[in-house]
């Protein structure tokens, strides 16, 4: 679980942060905080699906479910089971 948190956090930092000084934690609001826009959720969803060999239905891939690393990991785990 913690390992997955770090993988997702690293991906989000590499993918979306332009400013190296910006700090991102597991609970930083990603979408409501303006770090990830709804367009960019597409690549995040595809990354998770490829990495963890899962399929996340569109109705589950909501801005709320993608709003922090902790929430994303929770969502992924639902489909891993």
């Amino acid at each position: 679980m913690d390992e997955m948190k770090d993988v997702v956090l690293k991906y989000v930092i590499n993918e979306y942060l332009e400013d190296e000084d910006e700090v991102l934690t597991y609970d930083t609001p990603l979408i409501s905080g303006g770090i990830v826009d709804s367009f960019s959720m597409v690549s995040l969803k595809r990354f998770l699906e490829n990495k963890y060999k899962i399929s996340i239905p569109d109705d589950k891939a909501t801005p709320e479910a993608f709003d922090s690393v902790t929430k994303i990991v929770k969502l992924v785990n639902e489909f891993l089971k």
Binding site: E18, F39, S40, V42, S43, R46, F47, N50
Partner: protein, 415 residues
């Protein structure tokens, strides 16, 4: 009538918000033709002021060129004022087809379709050629019109960091399973003046079986040895699948645009692109003008060569004076001021010195990257550039930013 006070108040509230944010746009009225020397009424109602224009997209100085004006007159006399039709009903004249042939030859593509503007070309092209099974992968700094086109298309959309080829490759791998992939970029980025690495992008597209789309609006006519565009500069003519460009900048500056590229894609646009199908044909007077512009540019590289020399002089002069510039070698030369208010004050002070150059700040450019965007033209003579440089240095001294680093300017004025 349902335009009640309540409705009016809602809009007035929205407009007040725009004013409060300091991003309310105001037109400045020009009482002359577009050229290096223009006469401007600003603020509205004030006496006319003669200034040097440093912010037009008139890169080749063709907006008021006598041969182009003569051709426009001939078009008006022989083909009339308007066509009162879309292209496919009764809006296609011989000169429209002539222009499509000339653009195809100039850009080194397979076929071309005209649009009322490049904004329309970008808005219509993706919806016409892609389905929900496809993906569009765009540079994060592409022009607003491309973003609008992407929004209208049914295909999936993803982005890569500006000019970051490793990131683009990751995205091409991520979306390898898609039916069709299109990589989307500007040739020259209009706010920063840098160019897309089209040689590397074309190689990546070949490797991952993706199409390559380039908006050449700020390139056509002057980038590359013979002015064909960014694809010429990077040695990949014939390898770009879709080019969009405008006739509203270097190529005469009036209006109109096109999609040029693989013949099947152009034909799909002719069958399906909504701005082509449901908007009027380009007026004959404009088509005649652009036909002559392409004749002028095909005969001689004199104008783009002069533009290149002017640009070198301008970049060198500003750099030696101690301004912070964005790197690049195009005629778009951003003078970085970082602070939004400073960019507005600097622009006003330049205007008082007889120089017309506009300050850009968030949201047009990223937060903390306010600037004066200068644009050089082949219509500028050396005396224009010398006077403009003198004014920039005078104003730079006034605000004490010459020789200062980004950090020092931010420390003095804030970000």
């Amino acid at each position: 009538m349902a335009y009640s006070d309540k409705v009016r108040n809602i809009y007035n509230g929205s407009l007040d918000e725009i004013r409060e944010k300091g991003i309310f746009k105001q037109e400045r009225y020009i009482h002359s033709s577009q050229a290096a020397d223009i006469e401007v009424e600003f603020p509205t109602g004030s006496a006319l002021k003669k200034v040097i224009n440093m912010c037009a997209n008139n890169y080749l100085g063709l907006s008021s060129h006598p041969d182009v004006i003569k051709a426009a007159h001939e078009g008006l006399d022989t083909r009339g004022y308007g066509m009162s039709s879309v292209r496919f009903i009764c809006g296609t004249q011989d000169i429209h087809k002539e222009l499509e042939r000339k653009v195809t030859e100039f850009l080194g593509t397979e076929d071309t379709i005209l649009f009322p503007s490049c904004m329309d070309a970008n808005a219509g092209v993706f919806e016409a050629i892609l389905t929900k099974d496809d993906v569009m992968i765009s540079d994060r700094l592409v022009h607003a019109s491309i973003i609008d086109g992407i929004r209208l298309a049914p295909a999936m959309h993803d982005t890569f960091k500006h000019s970051d080829m490793a990131h683009l490759e990751e995205k091409l791998q991520l979306h390898a399973d898609k039916r069709l992939k299109v990589v989307i970029t500007d040739g020259v980025f209009s706010m920063d003046g840098d160019t897309a690495k089209l040689d590397e992008m074309a190689a990546l597209c070949e490797k991952y079986d993706a199409m390559l789309f380039v908006d050449e609006s700020h390139s056509s006519g002057f980038i590359g040895k013979t002015g064909r565009g960014t694809h010429e500069k990077y040695g990949v003519m014939g390898k770009i699948d879709i080019i969009t460009t405008t006739f509203g900048k270097a190529l005469g500056g009036a209006s109109g645009g096109c999609v040029s590229g693989r013949k099947e894609l152009v034909e799909m646009c002719r069958q399906k692109a909504r701005p082509y199908l449901f908007s009027n044909t380009i007026a004959p007077v404009v088509v005649s003008g652009v036909n002559t512009v392409l004749d002028i540019l095909s005969k001689s590289t004199e104008r783009r060569d002069k533009l290149e020399k002017n640009t070198e002089f301008w970049r060198k002069g500003l750099t030696e004076a101690g301004f912070v510039l964005k790197d690049g070698d195009t005629p778009i030369v951003p003078v970085m001021l970082f602070n939004a208010k400073l960019s507005q004050d600097f622009s006003k002070a330049l205007y008082e010195e007889g120089i017309y150059a506009i300050g850009f700040f968030f949201p047009v450019v990223p937060q903390g990257q306010a600037r004066i965007r200068t644009q050089i033209s082949a219509g500028h003579e050396m005396h224009h550039l010398e006077k403009a440089l003198e004014a920039f240095i005078k104003v730079g001294k006034k605000f004490d930013i010459l020789g200062k680093t980004k950090q020092e300017i931010i420390a003095k004025y804030g970000q």
